[in-house]
Symmetry: C2
Amino acid sequence: MADSHAGHDHVWADDLTRNQELVLGTLAHATAPLSAYDILDRLRDEGLRAPLQVYRALDKLTERGLAHRLESLNAFVCCADAHCHGDGGSTAFAICDRCGKVEEFAEPAIDSKLRSWSKASGFVPARMTIEIRGLCKECSASRGP
Amino acid sequence: MADSHAGHDHVWADDLTRNQELVLGTLAHATAPLSAYDILDRLRDEGLRAPLQVYRALDKLTERGLAHRLESLNAFVCCADAHCHGDGGSTAFAICDRCGKVEEFAEPAIDSKLRSWSKASGFVPARMTIEIRGLCKECSASRGP
DNA sequence: GTCTAGACGTAATGTTATAACGTCTTGATC
DNA sequence: GATCAAGACGTTATAACATTACGTCTAGAC
Ligand SMILES: [Zn+2]
Ligand SMILES: [Zn+2]
Ligand SMILES: [Zn+2]
Ligand SMILES: [Zn+2]
């Protein structure tokens, strides 16, 4: 095969490897966060056989901000915010415990509060995790007032 | 043994079980977060043999706010803030990637921002995770200007 | 005394993540 | 064009984290 990894249906970046594209594509089509093993299962037909192939791709994708790891779930989502990639600001996630839907949002005021606490404490931040678990609008509506 | 589990050196609550006291005591004496298996290893001499004994105690302790789970580390710490226990407000953690030290702090403004985002979005929050990874004051000082 | 709820002990298993090794491709350098 | 270095890749094995399932024991309610 001369032309590598053709057949994808969206381009996120021009220099992703085949495995990275496969993993990102899988995340993009998912409606809920996927664990690395979920992703692996969905890519068996594409030839992936080992967890490490997925973890390596996820490492690169999260480094570049094209995907995010949800720490409270040990799972991954495709970045939903074009402005988010690599702007250094922290991103927050609201995760529905019932349907799995994830909303990615930025609250600059939160980021700024965390930074000012850090500055005051002498702590040098490298990475921030902000996750809310609960019920999304639809799921809470279907459970009573 | 008539009098159950004597010999501890601090009382956090009057109704902890023996396993819960052992686990909380272990966390209280640690200088960095401990995984469930770390805790288990330190309690072999007290008779604990299985992970579940530790996980069950941790579940109860975290429910009551006497210990906290650090999601980005899959590890646990003793609660460091007497005001924190069960006040419903979210607690934030700054975790040093070099020495492991954890600082627990409350930023009501952050909590309030997250709640107002939730209200505006129709999301019903149940639990919030706020963790900053980086270098503590001492560790960043010993690494250059 | 009987019943029940909850903590406990144990074994087995499931899930998430990394270590260690060698190969292959690509692109720079000589 | 040969050599070299960096980095993606494939594979196996293993480590680290967490839960399911089942039976026992005790304390308190009735
Ligand atoms: Zn994003
Ligand atoms: Zn939902
Ligand atoms: Zn606390
Ligand atoms: Zn430190």
